[in-house]
Amino acid sequence: MIFSLIVDGLAVGSVYALVAVGLVMLVKSTGALNFAHGDFMMISTFVAYSLLVQLELPFWVAIVGALAFAAVLGMVAERLVIRKLMTGPMSGIIMGTLGMAYILQGIAKIVWTDDIFKFPEFFPGDFVKIGSASISPQSIGVIISAIIIITCLYLFLNLTKVGTGLRALTQNKTAATLMGIKVTKVYSLSWALGGILAAFAGILLAPALYLSTGMGGITFTGIIAAIIGGFGNMFGAIIGGYLLGILSSVIPVYIPTELQGIIPFVLLMLVLFIKPTGILGKKMVKKV
């Protein structure tokens, strides 16, 4: 029983981890906390749904289509909203990305209405028995997919020239410019990647959940996961995501349903109480 709950938690945690990693990557590369991240996810998942169910395209075409849509959406957001606002104060970026969130929700409601939709499972099949526990193939598929996606991102950032350039840019913009790194191109790329990560998260999450225009609220879960892990640290974001996933799957069994919503916040406060910078966070060095 507890074992299958943990596996389900790992599946949800995979999605949280993908959202949190995307958020952290955008914060590090462009300094923007993307409050529209969950809505990038929502609208991209709706695109996948339309391609798959309404246009009856093959599974992989729908996924590639949704990812391409998400990448373009990310680049457009960067070009039209972020690039201007990132030169100004943080409050401008916050309002800018919140604005995008509302715009995307509005568009989604017009195109797909306020209804809920059933998203088909990608990994059908019988439950797998391990001992007395039975595990859904969907959960296993989601966990493995997320691990593959995160590994690919890691390899891209660490083993390719452009990926290393993106990390270099986050560490010293002037120096990166002096290396001939085209800063605007890298910003654009990081938002395309951010969009793709959000779309993956949505596509992996949707079969377990009904699809609705309200899905974007996951942004806050992602932010909490990122803070728990130590804001600004991608590994931390992954750990935070999985921790949050497992606990929100296991704990509800032992507490009244009314209290379920506070689990992420209680965990957040507990972690920050023990280690104010989060699990992998570095000590803040105040710059004078």
């Binding site: 020239k161 290393t164 270099a168 560490q171 002037t174 120096a175 990166a176 002096l178 290396m179 001939g180």
Partner: protein, 238 residues
């Protein structure tokens, strides 16, 4: 090779460079001296295209580069080692070096150049997998110079490479610059350490609050009364 013709630059209302003309011949080592805030770094920023010109013209190998972008400057072979080193703190030593070669496509040659940097600065070889922020100040400066060289500069702009380093290390770095020059690299060196800079410079300019107030051959300026008093701290005898 590089010509700044009557350039003027400012940050908002702060005038940083006022009608500055500086010429660097191919193969020469030219130095810019000046006190804090004189406009030395601004001069290099203007050349690297980080700072817009309000007036004047930049020529590189006969081409007008006044309107080019920082990336184009790098592609042209104008490479700056900035003030304060600005290494990438969380990248490894090797990753820092490969970032220097970001605009190059000749993978094999890049590998050779990495080896070359390791022979120039053996300490970097020992530390190649180490995160750059854990290097000492002197090592970081060597890394910054090596990273610049990885771009195969036609002209290397150095902004105060001696800043904050012990005298022995400063000597190492200056003798390395002299070797580089002898190997044919054109160098524009900004320094506050006027004595060292004038000793190795073919030609030098003195900047004061954004204006060139004095220029001449390195040896000449070493003998100049005003330079001796203001920048070398040597009082007139008698």
């Amino acid at each position: 090779m590089l010509k700044l013709n009557n350039i003027t630059c400012s940050y908002g209302k702060v005038l940083a460079l006022d009608d500055v003309s500086i010429h660097v011949e191919k193969g020469a080592l030219v130095s810019i001296l000046g006190a804090n805030g004189a406009g030395k770094s601004s001069c290099l920023k203007a050349i690297s295209r980080l700072l817009k010109l309000q007036a004047g013209q930049l020529l590189f190998q006969g081409n007008d580069i006044t309107k080019s972008t920082p990336e184009q400057a790098v592609h042209n072979g104008i490479i700056q080692v900035p003030e304060g080193r600005m290494i990438f703190p969380d990248l490894t030593v090797t990753e820092n070096l490969t970032m220097g070669a970001y605009c190059r496509k000749d993978k094999k040659e890049i590998q050779n150049d990495l080896e070359k940097m390791n022979s120039y600065f053996p300490i970097l070889k020992d530390r190649r997998r180490q995160i750059a922020s854990t290097l000492s100040g002197g090592e970081q400066q060597m890394l910054a110079i090596a990273r610049g060289l990885m771009a195969r500069p036609k002209i290397l702009l150095l902004d105060e490479p001696s800043l904050g380093l012990a005298p022995v290390i400063v000597e190492d770095i200056f003798s390395f610059l002299l070797e580089l020059k002898q190997a044919g690299t054109t160098i524009l060196l900004v320094e506050q350490n006027a004595f060292m800079a004038l000793q190795i410079a073919d030609y030098a300019y003195v900047l004061e609050t954004g204006k060139v107030t004095l220029e001449g051959q390195g040896k000449e300026l070493l003998e100049n009364e005003r330079v001796r008093e203001s920048y070398l701290g040597i009082k007139k005898s008698k």
